[in-house]
């Protein structure tokens, strides 16, 4: 779809309005509930283990550029960094995309500030490694083997290199938590990490960790949208049974005359 159709305009604007509405309502102090997400409690556990063992923590925000997924990863990493800083555990973060380096450096150093440990932050700990996929993986593998991290957190966009990083960390006995919207990599994280955050638990993570009203509101809004999508799709399924392609037509690539949206399907495709 190069340009919005009329149904697309309506649907996208309604979805956006629902989300923005709940976010603003939450910011104004509306009490909201989200359920416990098991994988996320593991984050604190892993930080605790690293503190006990007195070894460092590795954070990776994956292979994304400045995009929605990577910024989300950075938000999670910032939380972990501030928890670690509170206990005086060293955090290292190899960066893939150069433009992300200053944002990450800024975010991690402000996490240290928040924990009252700005003295412990060294700008070498957030370092650019490479923006070539496997050079980055080789570098991270080397870092893991040499530094023998106690815990590794892999959040963000990952591709094939996910397993290189996760297996090397497994070799040095690190406790690992991973989360990614790259669905293809989840099986490998499941095989070599201790805890894996699946699907849009990824977007729920910061909301859950920080209990920030903005993020909680967003979660609730997203949930409502998802429920609406499920209901719509189910309705479409039922309507297809009686040969009414109404729902299907709403999602067509091109606008069609208003009357034909709810006209019965013409036989066959």
């Amino acid at each position: 779809m190069n340009h919005a159709t009329w149904p697309a305009r309506v649907i996208l604007i309604v979805i956006s309005a629902v989300i923005v509405w709940t976010v603003i309502a939450a910011q104004r102090g509306k009490k909201l509930f989200i359920r416990r997400i098991p994988g996320l409690t593991a984050i604190d556990e892993a930080v605790g283990r690293a503190v006990e063992m007195g070894r460092g923590i590795l954070l990776s925000s994956g292979l994304g550029g400045i995009d929605v997924v990577t910024l989300q990863a950075l938000a999670i990493c910032t939380n972990i960094a501030s928890a670690a800083a509170r206990y005086g555990t060293k955090v290292q973060m190899p960066i893939y995309e150069a433009a992300l380096l200053p944002i990450a450096e800024d975010a991690i150093s402000s996490a240290y500030n928040k924990a009252g440990r700005s003295d412990a932050f060294s700008s070498d700990d957030v370092r650019y490694l490479s923006n070539q996929q496997f050079a980055y993986a080789a570098g991270v593998a080397g870092m893991i083997q040499r530094e023998q991290y106690a815990a590794t957190f892999l959040f963000g966009t990952f591709f094939a290199e996910s397993l290189i990083m996760a297996e090397n960390a497994n070799m040095v006995g690190a406790i690992q938590v991973a989360g990614t919207p790259s669905t293809t990599q989840i099986p490998f994280f499941i095989a070599s990490c201790d805890y894996v955050i699946i699907g849009d638990e990824y977007y729920a993570a910061t909301a859950y960790l920080t209990r920030q009203p903005t993020l909680l509101g967003s979660m609730i809004g997203q949930d409502r949208v998802k429920i609406a999508i499920l209901v719509t799709v189910m309705l479409g399924f039922l309507l297809t049974m009686v040969k009414l392609p109404l729902v299907k037509n709403l999602f067509e690539d091109k606008d069609m005359p208003a009357a034909s949206y709810y006209s019965p399907a013409k036989g066959g495709k």
Partner: protein, 284 residues
């Protein structure tokens, strides 16, 4: 007999052996079953190359892979190009994900084209590489003006002066898109090009087998008309065309490495159960 837990280095050594032996000596292997995506891949090319509406249109060969996935993507490209030239269709090589794609695609096309008596500029062309960052807007611009949007071919010649491009000016002149990829780059064609002209353009996908999983839904939605899944797909395609090549040889290595993994998993589980029993015995 007690089965010990194996050290990871033993696993690595076993794998290296199992993969290399079939490459050194001929190991017998049954022919593969032809899966539906391969079948529809083959049939789509058949249809496009015989349908009077599409048979004179351009085939875009989009090579978005690098040397890393050579074994899979190059065997797919070889098998497919062989088929395209046997149908005497005109094609254009294009790359927008990795500059290596332009070179790997270009040299493979050159080799196959030479063998088939194709002339550069008259029967085929290499559009070269365009950076991935601008691909969305480039594809949008290509819909109405291939010559203007792309500018020149890989050698710096203006497309408008290349004979083969004379009849191919916009998306409607494209009959088939075949994407060879190590990433989900086919989505750009689907999102911005496939349906942007007056009729949808048949689109085929040759992903590495890992990328195939994400693409299966696109076969269902009709966004893709066929798919060669990795080396396996290439091997199936070679079998359909009765033209065995690299893919056929390599699939012996592939088969036996899978067998090794399955054996190892079974051994691991048997060992685990034995250990568990022994521990129970000890506590009694």
């Amino acid at each position: 007999m007690r089965i010990p837990q194996l050290d990871r280095r033993v696993l690595y050594l076993l794998l290296a052996l199992v993969v290399s032996i079939p490459l050194l000596v001929n190991v017998p292997l049954p022919p593969p079953a032809i899966t539906p995506p391969t079948k529809s891949f083959y049939e789509t090319i058949e249809t496009v190359s015989t349908d009077p509406k599409t048979k004179d249109k351009l085939v875009i060969i989009s090579c978005n892979f690098g040397s890393g996935t050579l074994a899979e993507n190059l065997s797919q490209l070889e098998a497919t190009l062989n088929h395209i030239v046997s149908k005497r269709m005109k094609f254009a090589i294009f790359a927008f994900n990795d500059p290596q794609g332009r070179d790997l695609g270009g040299s493979t096309a050159q080799r196959i084209a030479d063998k088939a008596g194709y002339k550069y500029g008259e029967d085929w062309v290499n559009w070269g590489f365009r950076p991935p960052q601008g691909i969305q807007s480039l594809l949008k611009a290509m819909v109405n003006d291939l010559h203007g949007a792309l500018g020149t071919d890989v050698k710096g010649t203006k497309l408008s002066t290349i004979p083969v491009m004379a009849n191919y000016k916009k998306a409607d002149d494209v009959g088939l898109i075949i994407e060879f990829a190590a990433a989900d780059t086919v989505k750009y064609w689907v999102q911005f090009f496939q349906r942007a002209g007056t009729t949808p353009i048949a689109t085929l996908f040759c992903p590495t087998s890992v990328m195939a999983n994400e693409a299966y839904p696109m076969l269902e939605t009709g966004q893709l008309q066929g798919m060669l899944v990795g080396l396996k797909g290439a091997n199936e395609f070679e079998t359909v065309m009765k033209r065995p090549g690299f893919a056929t040889r390599a699939s012996a290595s592939l088969s036996y490495s899978h067998l090794l993994i399955i054996l190892l998993i079974i051994l691991g589980n048997v060992g685990m159960i034995q250990d568990r029993k022994r521990q129970q015995g000890a506590t009694k």
